[in-house]
Subunit: 511 residues, 2 copies
Amino acid sequence: MPHGARRVRGRERRSRDPGVTPLPWRAVDNPFPPLEPLSADQIEAVHEASLTLLERSGVEVMSEAALDLFAAAGAAVDRASGVVRPDRDLVLEQIAKAPSRFTLTPREPAHALQIGGNRLHFGLVSGAPNLHDRINGRRAGNLPDYIRLISLGQSFPCIHFLGSQPAPPIELPANTRHLDIAHANLVYTDRIFHAIGIGAGRVADAVEMVARARGLTAAELESDPSVIVNINVNSPRKLDDAMAEGLMESARRNQATIITPFTLMGAMTPVTLAAALTQQNAEALLGLTLVQLTRPGAPMVYGGFTSNVDMKTGAPAFGTPENAKANLAGGQLARRYGLPYRTSDCNAGNTVDAQATWETMMALWGASMGHGNLIYHGAGWLEGGLVASFEKLVVDAEILQHLISFLQPIDTSPSEIALDAIESVPPGGHFFGTEHTMARYETAFYAPFLSDWRTQENWAADGSKTATERATEIWQRLLADFTPPPMEESRREAIDSYVAHRKEALGSEEP
Amino acid sequence: MPHGARRVRGRERRSRDPGVTPLPWRAVDNPFPPLEPLSADQIEAVHEASLTLLERSGVEVMSEAALDLFAAAGAAVDRASGVVRPDRDLVLEQIAKAPSRFTLTPREPAHALQIGGNRLHFGLVSGAPNLHDRINGRRAGNLPDYIRLISLGQSFPCIHFLGSQPAPPIELPANTRHLDIAHANLVYTDRIFHAIGIGAGRVADAVEMVARARGLTAAELESDPSVIVNINVNSPRKLDDAMAEGLMESARRNQATIITPFTLMGAMTPVTLAAALTQQNAEALLGLTLVQLTRPGAPMVYGGFTSNVDMKTGAPAFGTPENAKANLAGGQLARRYGLPYRTSDCNAGNTVDAQATWETMMALWGASMGHGNLIYHGAGWLEGGLVASFEKLVVDAEILQHLISFLQPIDTSPSEIALDAIESVPPGGHFFGTEHTMARYETAFYAPFLSDWRTQENWAADGSKTATERATEIWQRLLADFTPPPMEESRREAIDSYVAHRKEALGSEEP
């Protein structure tokens, strides 16, 4: 304690209010300029090297339809190997056709996302094969838990969009699972979600379902997009057939296509950050070019997912210094091409402890200060993505609310500088009961729902609960209180019947 | 997991190496421009308001000698109340006399600190009345634990300086405790440390002892300073007698004087951040003016310590969004006056959990991206400063090492972009055994000592230890392996004999 500090914990609450009142829905703009670890010259060096890589060695594309598009546009295409070598003029000409900003509207129009510029959006975890919470333990993805997970996401307005199949329900048949996922997303949340980009059919089904949930036709959705399709390049330098088909269907439908090379340094790229960024950039540009060759002007997003492995073991790592820097540098590359930027907020913790938290904060700082427009895995990611954790989701929501509050500008108007209020208290006094304080104290500061600021004695008397243990109480309460956002009966019937019709058409495969 | 991702955890270590190899000593420069939440106009508004506050209402200074200095310089001084009202010209003229950069040299010259510009330094916790670790529990400060705490600080070269009496040994007599503290600091560490700024005598004793440990005279130390003296203003608007005397002695000795108002919004200042910054600035300027009135040109540092209280309970909070913004804005004010900046990296957690970590990271981002030159409480602070925690110290050292690695520039030279290395692996291959990887893999990435990146199965088989539990193993090992940095026998004898002589002169008071 500083010399002369008075203890100010006198007015201690007797017990903690167990209620949770998350921050309301809010557009989050980053008022700071982006942090840029690379100079303009360095960005040009990476840019030029990646274009040379595309021209000289290219990317394997496992789709005849995609190869046809590249060949028709004049790219060098080797039909035997599937390798495409587009020249730099073709690439730059194509990606220049994309908009730098666009809007995605979910079934609740108030939750539309303006993608681009300095606006940040945070997403629920994507693609975790397992779930975990401290009550029920670790288990494989299943539909009841899927619904609970996305309901928790819906409970926090700081989670602006759902990840791509946050935790796939693997007990369901693989060929129709995407219908159940989209149906649950539409019934239990009112946020932007993903069509699963594995093949054209899943994308088309999601588009058809969102259109019905919005009371639009699928054709109308082409001029008013709702769906995100995330396409992973299989690094190094390979775009597989299902992803290529999903990409092209997304573009044909004019939905938001994100191209995200999955580039773990030391495994899928060389160990140097400069090489990883070069390879990431080449792979992203290849996919982005294919989007525009499919439908000129289709909305698309530059994705980066560059982290490193533990070179002692090969284990993937996230929230490392290298990952945080890659998150910043990826934003520079996206802006180089005038495209919105998708990045991530990951960690490699095995439990919701200090490590999971510092890694999350490192990655989040890079993602947000790199002006990520879509920050994936913002809530619930654990074990390097192998688990969607309910406690981590709650901790992450608190962290996101901290960040959102941090990004609010400082008001220095005269009533805020408040010289009179300062002068109303004599030297050595205090401000607890002053008029200026009383008029503002309820809203002056961000009020966290998860922090415990009681004295050690009171905290210990209440069971010495860690933030993770308190998070368990919070998700239980949120799920007990959860009500799905209302949907017009006719729209609900339309999506129910679409799913029934499609399941009949697709038949049932074993999961 | 992204579609198409390969599991890369195959080469799992069988057991973790328990060794700890901290990053070596390194100057840490922030390559990014400072993040600035206030516009130039807003900074001027705060600046002008704080000067008006000084002129109109002033600050109470409880020292006749200080009042004499202010009066002699032409400031309005009310002898009855002790209130000083310096006009703005006097304040600005005085603080302009201070250097914008200076060097502090401890007994190990390689660990000198260049204070100013974009160089960051991280400090061990200051002033915690208690200690805690998971083996020995919570206890009041005592000399054996003090030595263990600073030995842990010495074990991590990322901790550049000691806090002001990191955890005071309260069993020792109050009037000579500072001698035992300085002696321990000099024997067990070779870092810059603080003279305790409570009265002139403690400052003089620290200066005399450091001089002997460096083989210099106290007079020589005036042109080659070694000591930091942190002066807290007792907000609102009061500088007590002991702090004023400590301030003036530090200035007379030409050591580094830091003026840090302790401004918890809602308690010691109004609830608005603009008012808190205005009051902080006025209080800091008053103290900084007194430094220059005492000795023109003496090195000094602008200190900020603005956070908020929980308005429901009055409990102090740290690492809040408001605290992080105040850390950034304080840097803008320091740069407005051409002075180095001291800020802090605090949290209000009761245990080393997710909350303590996210609060630490929020505060640390504000402190480091605000270009704090001296970042206090960078390692070991817990419970809002009531406890120095051994586990938190280890976690914080890991976080600091992450930050330091994050601040290293990205190399984009041709061998790093490494087009040939990228092209040497075919589409869909991997880079584990490539020549480029093999030549670099041991040093390519920052290697954390505390992170556990093993699979869930292996982590669970090894006891499911959290980062906090692993930190316990690490501090035990570091203390078992600790060797104090060597000191010439003659210098050791000189400080031993100084302490003995001074204890005899001061007599023994009850602690």
